[in-house]
Amino acid sequence: MIEVNGLSKSYGDYQAVAGVSFSAQKGEVVGFLGPNGAGKTTTIRMLATYLPPTAGAATVAGYNIVTQADEVRRRIGYLPENPPLYGEMTVREYLKFIAEIKGVPRTEMAKRVDSVMERCFIADVSHKLCHHLSRGYRQRVGLAQAIIHEPEVIILDEPTSGLDPNQIIKIRQLIKSLGETHTVLLSTHILPEVSAVCSKVVIVNRGRVVMESELSKLSRDKSLEQIFLESVSQEDAVDAAA
């Protein structure tokens, strides 16, 4: 469960995120959609307890991201924008290290590593150095890293970037199935991805939420693309007039 309330982040004078509010329930896959520079990564980094917010509050898995960051960290799986790999480790060594620091019980470690490699389609590169992986494989190892400890809340920053079309379909299926039992928040700027995997969409532009809606409640005569372009351009028009 994720509950975001007026979350803001400024870098000096520049306000990258300006009072974002939305929520995500268990069993939902929420798509966080927005143009480049909208503030998706910044918001996600705050929810993942990497960046402290400058204003506002949020709870993840029922815990405050600032005052109870340790509790939040125990319950999230997080894939940053750039998969955080250690190049000099093999994929198996890397995942074993992740399992250790995420508190997977020692007796289950080997089993979890094997099953997550299976699920993310990386078993064939288990002995390769992370350094030698292609972009798509790096992305999949990054995803494996985020789910290996079976966290309550899964936060993914552009999980399908760099994947080939075949992998995109498989990974979307994986994310969708994760969404049945977990809370998943994923950022993307690919519109079809939202319709393919998400049950809810939150559109952000210039650090603000411009629309939050269940996918099933969106009007049937407009495509998601139209809705996206409209909500984004409305904002820009208002700004231009001001």
């Binding site: 990497y50 997080y78 620091i101």
Partner: protein, 256 residues
């Protein structure tokens, strides 16, 4: 504890996959070997000369003073340059490749990250210093050195190396660039190394103060076979200060 060990193991794996650790360890052993044989041949010459003087009632030269002390003191200079090579990448590199974000958002505390990394460097330094124990063993075959100063000297130099590593790590926590981290650590350690230079000219309590801050000065006792509480306290505080600064720098990093 489990997290500290996990971080430490991962660091060791990185150390021994990259050529840096091998380069530093063999480089150190070779350099010390070179100086050891130099001091030894110097000692042999002095011994020959003093054999003549001894006829007139002088003291025989002491193997410990000439060779062991000399080698240990040389080690400290070499450490000033080699320890930064080991510490420069620790945290700077983590920030550069984005794995810092992974560590921070994992259920691992900053303290555990810092201690795990420090422990791994401590292990590498221990191995590195231990390789040079070969030379005292040779010395025992050759003459009869006193053993206590060798043991306490080794312990003192190890403490000194750990202090240097701790400072190097702190410097590395302030930057994302490992070259900057390496050079800045070398400069810092070099300044610390020469800090007693102005001591004699300033006079008074300032002299005492500069002397107290000098690692060479603090190693005097251990090199003579005395493990003084004063030296342990000095190097201990250096280690704690470095670890504390590293932790603070990492905690502050995200708030910018």
């Amino acid at each position: 504890m489990r997290n500290i060990w996990a971080i430490c193991k991962r660091e060791l794996l990185s150390f021994f996959v990259s050529p840096i650790a091998y380069f530093v360890i063999t480089g150190f052993t070779l350099l010390i070997g070179f100086f050891f044989f130099n001091y030894l041949s110097y000692f042999a010459r002095v011994q020959d000369m003093s054999a003549m003087i001894a006829l007139r009632g002088g003291d025989a030269p002491n193997l410990n003073q000439f060779v062991i002390e000399g080698v240990f003191q040389t080690m400290v200079v070499i450490l000033v340059f080699l320890v930064p090579l080991l510490t420069m990448r620790t945290i700077a590199e983590e920030k550069r490749r984005g794995t810092f974000e992974l560590l921070i958002t994992s259920p691992v505390s900053v303290r555990e990250i810092v201690l795990g990394k420090f422990l791994s460097i401590a292990i590498v330094l221990f191995v590195m210093l231990a390789t040079t124990l070969l030379f005292p063993v040779l010395l025992i075959q050759y003459g009869n050195p006193e053993i206590p100063p060798i043991v306490s000297g080794f312990f003192g130099v190890l403490l000194c190396a750990l202090g240097f590593a701790s400072i190097g790590m702190a410097v590395s926590s302030f930057t994302e660039n490992q070259v900057v981290a390496g050079v800045a650590s070398m400069v810092t350690l070099l300044l610390l190394y020469v800090i007693q230079a102005p001591a004699e000219s300033v006079g008074g309590t300032a002299t005492e103060f500069f002397r107290y801050l000098s690692p060479l000065e603090q190693l005097q006792d251990p090199l003579r076979g005395v493990i003084a509480l004063k030296s342990i306290a000095y190097f201990g505080s250096m280690i704690v200060l470095g670890l504390f600064l590293s932790q603070r720098a990492l905690e502050a990093y995200r708030w910018r």
